[in-house]
């Protein structure tokens, strides 16, 4: 130790490893410990694997022989030609994750995903794919259907059956309504399946009569349906003139969710299928203010265009569920508080991490909100999701004991 001429006490600092891409979740573990998040169950409704890294394992599940042959020949994500591949998610390498995660795109091994979740204080999570979030815009409907079905079966066999901490809203091949119905009928009771997901980057009119059997089947099984936002950064899309990933990400995730939410409500689907629970993922919360106020105002002037509605559109929105991520970071917390109040957030917002994608949220985002009671924080972080998905809290593995 260097001699000191002062009266202060001096110690040697403990020098830690400075390799930049190692143990980045050490901080997440600390944030969870500081808040003692192990005291109550935390359920993350949205985290991601990179399913395309397992394409060789998924391909044998493809039922269509011609398509199976195609991907057996070239089992790579590039062969999918999905528009979500555009854009610099990592801001020229500024954003990165621990070494076991390629880029910030997802976690290839579910065992690593579960270990990471536990470090963040999460007990269990619902998992989604990554590149396949853009599969709904695939021009070959039979390819979307074949890959979506294969992904579902691979996920059940290789992830859900093996890891009780992992649940899933399965992929609905929504460009083929009959195939979508078959997925609900065949897989709705499979282990770990808590609902079905529409990747929302797509143009399907969700009110079309072809989809009604799907909603009826979900209602009959008490399974929710989710819509997960995404981007479509092609010249032909509405975002075609945007020149930064910042702007296309800011617009597209809420945009595609909003299109489906507008169609669902104004066509009276909640009145026709009152038992269906509607979930929306990964568009933050601010868009809900626009959607609620705008729809209510239009409805007041044109109620005869939505004759099935018995209440204002925003009242139907208050029955729906919304993943919180990426939760906005306003200068004044009361602006966020109003959104929680407007949409009954205490009972209808669901904590979502989106881990390990570039804009993930830790549970502390919810836990630190100064306007929520301790009870409401616990509901948003876990209680609401466990209720919606019918999961017994006692079935969850603990995350820590400090």
């Amino acid at each position: 130790m260097t001699s000191t001429t002062t009266e202060r006490r001096r110690s040697e600092a403990l020098i830690l490893n400075t390799r930049p891409r190692e143990d980045l979740l050490r901080n997440a573990e600390r944030e969870a410990r500081l808040r003692q998040l192990h005291r109550f169950p935390i359920f993350d409704v949205d985290c991601h694997v990179i399913e395309t890294m397992h394409l060789a394992d998924i391909v044998p599940y493809i039922q269509n022989e011609a398509i199976r042959d195609r991907y057996q020949h070239v089992p790579s994500a590039a062969a999918l030609n999905l528009p979500s591949a555009y854009g610099d998610k990592d801001v020229a390498g500024r954003i990165y994750r621990d070494e076991h995660i390629p880029g910030t795109r997802g976690v290839p091994r579910v065992q690593d995903l579960i270990r990471d979740m536990r470090r963040m204080g999460v007990n269990a999570a619902s998992v989604f794919p990554t590149p396949m979030l853009a599969l709904g815009e695939h021009p070959e409907v039979e390819v979307e259907t074949a890959l979506g079905q294969a992904y579902n079966r691979w996920l059940i066999d290789h992830c859900l059956k093996e890891e009780p901490a992992l649940k899933a809203m399965l992929y609905l091949p929504f460009n083929d309504p009959e195939a979508a119905l078959r997925e609900v009928e065949q897989l709705g009771d499979a282990p770990g399946v808590v609902g079905f997901l529409v990747t929302s980057v797509r143009r399907n009119p969700v009110y079309h009569n072809d989809f009604l059997p799907v909603y009826a089947a979900l209602q009959e099984r008490n399974l929710p349906i989710g819509f997960h936002g995404g981007v479509n950064w092609t010249k032909a899309s509405v975002s075609g003139s945007l020149n930064r990933f910042l702007t296309v990400h800011a617009l597209d995730f809420p945009l595609y969710n909003m299109v489906h939410l507008f169609n669902i409500i104004i066509n009276g689907l909640p009145e026709r299928f009152p038992g269906v629970r509607w979930l929306f993922y990964e568009a933050g919360l601010a868009w809900l203010v626009f959607a609620a106020m705008r729809l209510d105002n239009e409805f007041m002037m044109r109620p005869s265009e939505a004759p099935l509605l018995k209440r204002k559109p925003s009242e139907y929105m208050r029955d729906m569920y919304f993943g919180t991520q990426p939760m906005e970071y306003p200068d004044r917390m009361e602006h966020l508080e109003l959104i929680f109040e407007l949409l009954d957030g205490a009972n209808h917002f669901l904590y979502a991490s989106d881990y390990p994608h570039w804009d993930f949220d830790l549970p502390s985002r919810i836990y630190d909100l100064p306007f929520l009671s301790e009870e409401d924080k616990r509901k948003i972080l876990g209680g609401n999701a466990l209720r919606v998905f019918g999961i017994d809290p006692a079935s969850l593995e603990p995350t820590g004991s400090e």
């Binding site: 001096r10 020098i15 390498g93 954003i95």
Partner: protein, 130 residues
């Protein structure tokens, strides 16, 4: 409490040391010959900001007609970027470059007998706001 970090010559320009000092973790940097230290905890979500990249701030270049003609990394303004979400801070002041009211928690440093020493207040535990 004082914590001896390392000898000055062991921290060359553009390098850093991550160290545990009492209850907190800090990053100590040599930014163009100036030594600065911050708590390794991003103001956004507590991320490992001091493990992030050090980069000359990206600047866009405009012609007299205000056309964007290109971009370059600044030679003078150096930023540290949190690897979790890309929150970017001026490495010398700790100010967030997108919102100057947000600052990393700075740790006092001094040189004593050729060593870099961090002065950490005894009450400097990790705080949870909210």
């Amino acid at each position: 409490m004082e914590y001896r970090i390392c000898n000055v010559e062991d921290l060359p320009e553009g390098e850093r040391v991550i160290a545990e000092v009492g209850d907190i973790e800090i990053g100590v940097f040599n930014i163009k010959g100036r030594y600065v230290a911050y708590e390794n905890r991003c103001m956004h979500q507590g991320g490992p900001v001091c493990r992030g990249r050090l980069l000359g701030r990206w600047e866009e270049l405009l012609s007299p007609e205000k056309k964007v003609t290109g971009g370059r990394h600044s030679d003078t303004d150096i930023d540290i970027v949190c690897p979790w979400h890309g929150w970017e801070y001026d490495a010398l002041t700790g100010e967030n470059i997108a919102d100057r009211t947000i600052r990393l928690r700075k740790i006092e440093l001094f040189v004593d007998d050729g060593a870099l020493v961090a002065l950490v207040p005894d009450e400097a535990g990790v705080r949870v706001d909210g």
